[in-house]
């Protein structure tokens, strides 16, 4: 009894420690963003230009204040624009990925063609290659089409990303061929099989891809830096005003607001996402 009790406590403590390491930074952002300026400077003014002393660990603010949020939301128009840019770009990318990726993944999973494997292998190289390498050919095409400095420079190349296809293919492979055979015998068209059997059975994969893509493109940094010289279309992931003693609080409030959409989505869909990741690694 006592032994298992100790074991349980040990488990709880290690889980708590894990939670602090994994989620701690978020809580720190929230706490600091609710602080008054002088208190904020007291606890970590040290790391800002011309601060003094060492940074401290703020556990709870003495005075809760929404002053930082008020300032951000009432005075910083730029923040709204960038937030909206992010929403628009991420939505466009995900929609496009679905339209392009679902049929492609279905074909990879269910068609028999010898060139298919070769193509899939190339897709995997694109999937792994770092953005900075693919950016060179992408830049050339975007330039030719005159899309540099428009939001489509971010959306279009991402629509053809191959990671969603890789994940979806693994889900579609799990759809048993017997069902498709039976449907064919009953006279169902290929289009009917794909839309009425394939897509519903691959729902889990589609959900996982939507979530993973959103987390990925809400966090995009490389593409806008390379393709958008004009800052008016920059996404909120690049919202980093120069942090000084004056605006540290506002920057922290912005940091917290930026992570709200992804965190909410995560809590709503972490089981779908988890199942999606798990399936990527399973036999297919």
């Amino acid at each position: 009894m006592i032994k298992s009790g100790i074991k349980n406590i040990g488990k709880c403590v290690s889980l708590l420690l894990l939670a602090v390491i994994m989620a701690g930074p978020v809580i720190l952002v929230l706490i600091c963003s609710l602080m008054k300026r002088d208190e904020l400077l007291l606890s970590f003014g040290a790391v800002l230009p011309d601060g003094a002393g060492y940074a401290g660990i703020p556990l709870l603010p003495y005075y809760l204040t929404f002053e930082n949020y008020k300032k951000l939301l009432l005075q910083e128009m730029e923040f709204y624009i960038m937030f909206w840019n992010s929403v628009f770009q991420a939505a466009g990318i995900i929609l496009g990925q679905m339209i392009v990726g679902i049929p492609a993944a279905w074909a990879f999973a269910k068609w028999d063609a010898c060139w298919k494997n070769f193509l899939f292998r190339i897709y995997i190289v694109w999937m792994v290659a770092p953005f900075q390498v693919l950016m060179v050919p992408e830049y050339l095409t975007l330039q030719r089409w005159g899309l540099i400095d428009t939001p489509y420079a971010i959306i279009l190349p991402a629509v053809f990303a191959t990671l969603p296809i890789f994940i979806l293919t693994r889900f579609f492979r799990a759809v048993p061929d017997e069902i498709l055979e039976a449907a064919r015998l009953d006279g169902a068209s290929e289009f009917f099989i794909f839309t009425k059997i394939g897509i519903p059975l691959g729902e889990g994969g589609i959900g996982a891809v939507v979530i993973l893509s959103f987390l990925e493109y809400w966090n995009t940094i490389e593409a806008p830096l390379a393709f958008l010289h004009d800052r008016s279309f920059w996404p909120v992931s690049l919202y980093l005003p120069n942090i000084s003693q004056q605006n540290a609080g506002v920057a922290l409030a912005a940091s917290f607001l930026i992570l709200i959409p992804t965190t909410l989505l995560f809590f709503a869909g972490h089981d779908v996402m988890e199942a999606g990741i798990a399936n990527t690694g399973l036999k297919g």
Binding site: P130, Q132, V136, I221, L225, A226, V236, T262, I277, L282
Partner: protein, 267 residues
């Protein structure tokens, strides 16, 4: 059904890639063939060498480390009934790099929290603009990706046939023996897909580096991505093209090898 995807691939990757290849062997202004001159230039470039060295060091260290750590994590968490642990470990994936930059500064800058903790031994280090940056880069990568890999390993673990494990137990095999001879041979084939996805995520660690340290960070974390960005900003297209061809060949060989392993083991 593959058509839309292939059209996009052709427009954004295949056709311009041919142009990139051509550009990498011709002179910028005259358009004459110069053979492998650009490649020689790129390989002789000190910054490129530094970037390659750092990237290889980073990948060589962080990918195996993540591989092992996440396996241990998955083993520890696999006994839990509820998978709260896994969910918690996945959380960093949902935290945008932009939100974390300030906190990273508080943690790792000079006079920051880590500095305060260790100042007795080291006496004031800025972990972001010193050699320590490499450590920050690795820990950030592990922090962000450990949950993803734990979930992958846990899926592999859950597919182990329990009856074989029980049979071994009845035959008197100990915990360690059972792990080495029953569990490990079963889950190792899943390793190739985990390596592939870890590699892909390793290239994304650049985001944090960029936001923390900007275009010219400490030498120890000057990665390939930095040099490509800087080439693009300075319009050095021939270097960019030659470099891209080199890197994509290496990445291509690596990922095709991994995918071959994966197909042999899992399909």
């Amino acid at each position: 059904m593959l058509l839309p995807s292939m059209a996009g691939a052709a427009a954004f990757h295949v056709i311009p890639m041919c142009y990139v290849l051509k550009r990498s062997v011709t002179d910028d202004s005259t358009g004459k063939l110069v053979g492998l001159d650009h490649y020689r230039e790129v390989i002789d470039n000190a910054a490129f060498r530094l970037a390659v060295q750092n990237t290889v060091r980073f990948l060589g260290l962080c990918v195996p480390l993540l591989f092992a750590l996440s396996l241990i994590g998955a083993l520890l968490l696999s006994k839990e009934k509820r998978n709260l642990g896994k969910t918690v470990a996945l959380m960093p994936m949902a935290i945008p790099a932009a939100s974390m930059v300030l906190i990273w500064k508080v943690l790792f800058r000079r006079y920051g929290l880590l500095d305060r903790l260790f100042c007795g031994f080291t006496g004031g280090i800025d972990y972001i603009s010193s050699e320590g940056a490499f450590g920050v880069l690795i820990s950030t990568y592990i922090w962000r990706n450990v949950g993803y890999d734990i979930v992958l390993w846990a899926a592999a673990l859950s597919s182990v046939d329990q009856s074989i494990d029980e049979a071994a137990q009845i035959d008197g095999a100990g915990k360690l023996q059972r792990f080495v001879w029953v569990t490990l041979p079963h889950i190792l084939p899943y390793g190739s897909v985990i390596l592939l996805l870890s590699l892909l995520n390793a290239f994304k660690a650049f985001r944090e580096v960029y936001l923390m340290a900007g275009e010219y960070p400490n030498q120890s974390i000057y990665l390939l991505q930095h040099i490509f960005n800087n080439w693009l900003l300075n319009f050095r297209f021939s270097d960019l093209c030659a470099g891209a061809v080199l890197v994509i060949s290496v990445v291509g060989i690596l990922s095709v090898l991994l995918h071959k392993l994966l197909e042999r083991d899992l399909c």
